[in-house]
Symmetry: C2
Subunit: 140 residues, 2 copies
């Protein structure tokens, strides 16, 4: 039975669900920062997924990454599975700009998270759900 | 015509070639640090690869990651496509230990690279080529 890690739940909002993964938006307005979490119990590494789930993950990851790059006019997407602190497999998808405060370094540990205000968060989630959550390309 | 980025070439050694990607070992003895570079010209994002190449990439990435985790007895694998500095698509595969100097943070920017000594490098590459380079699982 899959359950989302408590720290991920605390630090993010659910955008939508793909066939394999939940799409979360981190509560950090500094960067458009999203996380894919494959809904599989006890998995900590991408290579720990079944072959079929690995293929579905790359489809979902590329679909999300391409959508985010377009929506947010990204200079670069950063896609990463680290998991040194939260072991439940989760793949960061971070929109980067050459003007953002961590550029060109990675974002982790540079600035404390800046929570969204409630209205901004709701507007953004509504808009993202319309664009990301209603496409059939990633359906298994 | 694919050509490896000059900075990647300067900072790494080629281990072997998979059907899609070159496998490089970074010249930094602090961590067992490898990079997959899909041999496709002008690609900067995973989602910029064709659908077929995306599937081949995840196969090669999972194959490499699993082998490295076993060979080096990793506590965790860090797999990341950043590319904020070197834009040619390359995917880091870094073996992490909870005793390494950057743990639990990411490795980038923590310590200057510590070059391998020549003998150690040759021994490691020979050994890796035997274990990683002779498997048919990742053949397209």
């Amino acid at each position: 039975m899959f359950e989302l890690d408590l720290r991920l739940r605390k630090d993010s909002f659910e955008v939508c669900r793909f066939p394999l993964s939940r799409v979360l938006m981190m509560n950090d307005a500094t960067y458009p920062w999203f996380v894919l979490v494959p809904q599989r119990e006890g998995i900590t590494e991408i290579h720990g997924l079944t072959d079929g789930d690995q293929l579905q993950l790359i489809r979902e990851s590329c679909y999300l990454s391409k959508k985010l790059a377009t929506i947010f006019c990204a200079d670069k997407m950063n896609v990463a599975a680290l998991g040194n602190v939260v072991s439940q497999l989760h793949i960061h998808h971070i929109v980067r700009y050459n003007s953002d405060p961590a550029w060109p370094g990675p974002v982790w540990g540079v600035l404390p998270a800046m929570p969204y205000d409630e209205d901004e968060k709701e507007r953004l989630l509504d808009s993202l759900r319309t664009v990301i959550g209603r496409d059939i390309e990633v359906t298994a």
